[in-house]
Subunit: 285 residues, 2 copies
């Protein structure tokens, strides 16, 4: 738990319903005992923080199989919140059924289309019918409420706990290297820079003049100072066809001298620049 | 019409149904008189060309407001077709109704959610109800078949022609800078390099070793030769969390000496590289 705030004061907003992977990520990041606030849309995460209904937000930004969730980059720019942490959640789908039901009884499996697709080979081996639902946690709730002993849901172990279901099979996904990276959002920035013993990551967004070589020059401010970029993402600029905003993650904290100089240098090149946050890097083994 | 093939032999596959913006793009690119082949999915465009049911494909790759269509980058890599052209379609939504119907009679407007969103301010001014449909061309067909004089569709002028509807209002979109860039696909590459009087664009995909500064080094092969990049896009590599494939568009043809040397240089840095096509650049004013 990298945050010093008492967990009793934490209300983490997430998109989805109780039992969603995003809620699981919030609980794993902050620790058990926090409050969580389900939101209908990703934008609701931002407004619930701004309106003080939540203290933090858990925003999925990228999945290792399907790529970035691009509209969430747009929301980071639109709403002025700070990124204070990151969390890599291992997305592992469990086959969940009513207590007492056996695997060989299952005929139908409900889940979100992406979860069904990610478990396709294993589901085919079981010879079950795939039924599309709006989300993974919702399909777990459906199994609890439906009382159909031939039906199962693909959802998180956390959803199984929330809805009192039994785990028939763990790790149903065909590709085990399935991670979602979450950004932890907050209105203010409580992350104290502690140069010793902690690696930081910083996320910035900027645009460059529409002239040849300008992105290369922007990237050189990091390369010339041996600052490691871990991610680059581009998004369109509304009203300027084929011009882009660039979102970059780099290793380092804005209070680190080397990084501060790089950003100062980037300021000479960029037309627009904003720091979205410096936060402890989560090492992934 | 930058292609030398006789247009009578052209069968252009596109995703959507008759009257779709993609079909309009194919007709504007190749000229009237070509055949078009509607496809259910983007992947069907690729298979229809491979199975010789179509000679060409019209693949939307990016919209100036909503950004890249990322799964189509994945399909470019998966299927080994050549990019032989590009086309920028101005996406302009018309309000289409049955012949004889007047604007003040309209109560309901049907279209794809994105088209409805792009025309929101203008629709609100008209005080009409917005009804979500699967696609723009489908909503035009619905108006033709429904015979409801109080209903209209938001779709292309081309859809209006296809379904015999009347254009009540042109340019319903709130932001006029709405373009979709299409890539023209083909099994072989008939684009002859003509260094005089023609600018080319090349699209490549590559990956770099997961070490600091490797993307910067890859980009330097272009910057050091004054080759202008117009687009960079990253996509996840399945099975290697947080490693990326990069798709780059640059100005120049692979047979141009400067570009050939840059790609040779990139070959020293990249772990994987493939040229997806060199094609005439479409100038956009």
């Amino acid at each position: 738990m990298p945050i010093s705030t008492s967990k009793h004061h934490i209300i983490a907003a997430f998109q989805g319903e109780a039992g969603a992977y995003s809620e699981q990520a919030a609980i794993e990041f902050f620790g058990k005992g926090i409050c969580t606030l389900p939101c209908v849309t990703f934008e609701d995460i931002f407004s619930s923080i701004k309106e003080n209904r939540a203290t933090h937000g858990m925003l999925p930004i990228e999945n290792s199989l399907t790529g970035s969730i691009h509209q969430n980059y747009d929301l980071l720019l639109k709403h002025n919140l700070n990124i204070i942490g990151e969390y890599h959640l291992r997305v592992s789908h469990c086959l969940l059924a009513l207590p007492g039901v056996k695997l060989e009884e299952i005929r139908r499996v409900y889940s979100h289309p992406q979860a069904l697709a990610q478990c396709e080979a294993n589901l085919n081996r079981l010879g079950v019918e795939k039924v599309v639902d709006l989300d993974t946690a919702g399909s777990a709730r459906l199994i609890r409420d439906g009382k159909d002993p031939q039906a199962a849901a693909l959802a998180s172990a956390h959803a199984g706990e929330v809805y009192g279901l039994h785990i028939l099979v763990r790790e149903m996904e065909d590709n085990l290297a399935n991670f979602t990276r979450f950004l932890v959002l907050c209105q203010e920035n409580p992350v104290q820079y502690q140069p010793e013993g902690q690696t930081y990551k910083t996320t910035i967004v900027f645009s460059v003049p529409n002239v040849p070589g300008s992105l290369f020059k922007a990237m050189s401010v990091f390369a010339l100072r041996d600052i490691n970029l871990t991610k680059i993402e581009s998004r369109p600029i509304s009203g300027k066809p084929w011009e882009y905003l660039f979102y970059i993650d780099f290793i380092g904290h804005i209070e680190d001298k080397n990084c501060a100089r790089a950003l100062e240098h980037l300021g000479e090149i960029a037309e627009f620049m904003r720091v979205l946050g410096s936060y402890p890097r989560q090492k992934q083994e």
